[in-house]
Symmetry: C2
């Protein structure tokens, strides 16, 4: 299935990049069928019309794909490298993440954040990953600079923070996830959360969890976290 993304359901035209993909890469013709999602659960089966100047389509069938019975929100400190942040967004999207918040923490390298968290670019990467993995919901992606407000305002059912205090045993995230509900998982920067950040999170209902026996980079932890929440639904 050739899946395309058009968030605005009043528009029945592919943008320049998708048009090129359609005509030059996939070599589709007028009358061929494509599928278009709006990234909010709508999936339309459409018939193409390859014009001289643009590619348009008309919907012949529409269905709404229901959301999953559970949701994954990852609030992660941005890494210092744009490509690692991009890799994280791509892989979390493949795994069906609903929401990604890049949270600036005490130990986040603030000078580079605006350069390494390019939201427009990250959303394009998420759109590609959504289409490639044949999903119909785009993750929401944002940058949060006020950690305290973010922690205070979160309303997920299950609140977890990836944190393993020295000499403490922490349970693996997969054992703390409540099935069929919303989970938010906080992942800190390379320099970890500060004790104050952890304390604030715990005062707001967050529990400390482990992501495994080995020490994972921030972006690996984010992906492992998503995967763990998916796996937990089967247990």
């Amino acid at each position: 299935m050739h899946l395309f993304y058009q968030p605005d359901t009043r528009i029945f035209e592919l943008d320049e990049e998708e048009s090129r993909h359609c005509t030059k890469v996939l070599r589709l013709s007028t009358g061929d069928i494509i599928h278009v999602t709006n990234g909010k659960g709508l999936l339309q089966k459409c018939r193409l019309n390859i014009g001289r100047k643009n590619v348009t389509y008309e919907a012949v069938e529409s269905i709404t794909i229901p959301k999953r019975s559970y949701s994954i929100s990852i609030a992660v400190a941005p890494t210092r490298k744009a490509e690692r942040n991009e890799w994280m967004v791509e892989k979390m999207t493949e795994m069906g993440v609903e929401r990604i918040d890049f949270i600036v923490t005490e130990h986040t390298h603030k000078e580079t954040v605006s350069r390494v968290v390019n939201l427009a670019r990250l959303k394009r990467i998420a759109a590609s990953a959504m289409k490639q993995s044949q999903q119909y919901y785009m993750p929401e992606i944002s940058l949060i600079t006020d950690y305290n407000s973010f922690i205070n305002e979160t309303d997920a059912t299950t609140r977890l923070i990836a944190y393993v205090p020295d000499n403490h045993l922490t349970e693996h995230v997969v054992k703390k996830v409540v099935k069929d509900s919303g989970t938010i998982l906080l992942i800190g920067p390379e320099g970890d959360f500060t004790p104050e950040e952890v304390k604030l999170a715990m005062e707001n209902g967050f529990e400390a969890v482990s992501l495994g026996a080995t020490r994972l980079r921030t972006e690996t932890a984010a992906v492992a976290g998503c995967h763990s929440i998916n796996v937990a639904q089967l247990l």
Copy 2:
């Protein structure tokens, strides 16, 4: 802990890159303590001697870190992009993979394999990841061009192939892993395994498993597979 890698235990000198890291980045001095691993479980606490032309050290204490009670082997078709193969190796190493075999399958793009699977570079990446995640065992990494022989000769306790035939329900890998033993997981290329490749694997004791509800890219599947095998040990 500053962890360095020297596979040859007869050598007590850091190579050029590690010497530079030692003196210019970490700014260590003669008499400072570093730790050195040989990537085969040996961890030595050492005292540095920063010479004019090189950096040497002497071991003051040695311990052998036992291997885990279980092992992860991933046999994965190389992707077409060198950087995706490199990401895979880095993240699998962070997760403690013991063995990575890049297997050339029918649908692998053979013309690019030698360019996108640079074993020397991949081993350097694995060494960095091993040190960064504070582990003491280097994964073995190789390129396998004969799928049939590889399948015939494997001797892992649990043999799994990431494959979901149409209209069949396959169990998640996390439910098929036998704790405290060796697991090998085969992951196919973007174009999937051929029916013949799957048949041969099954004739050699491989069982089909799923890596989750969403469709993952090859490199994401490899990392999800490692993570699943780690998680399975806790269940």
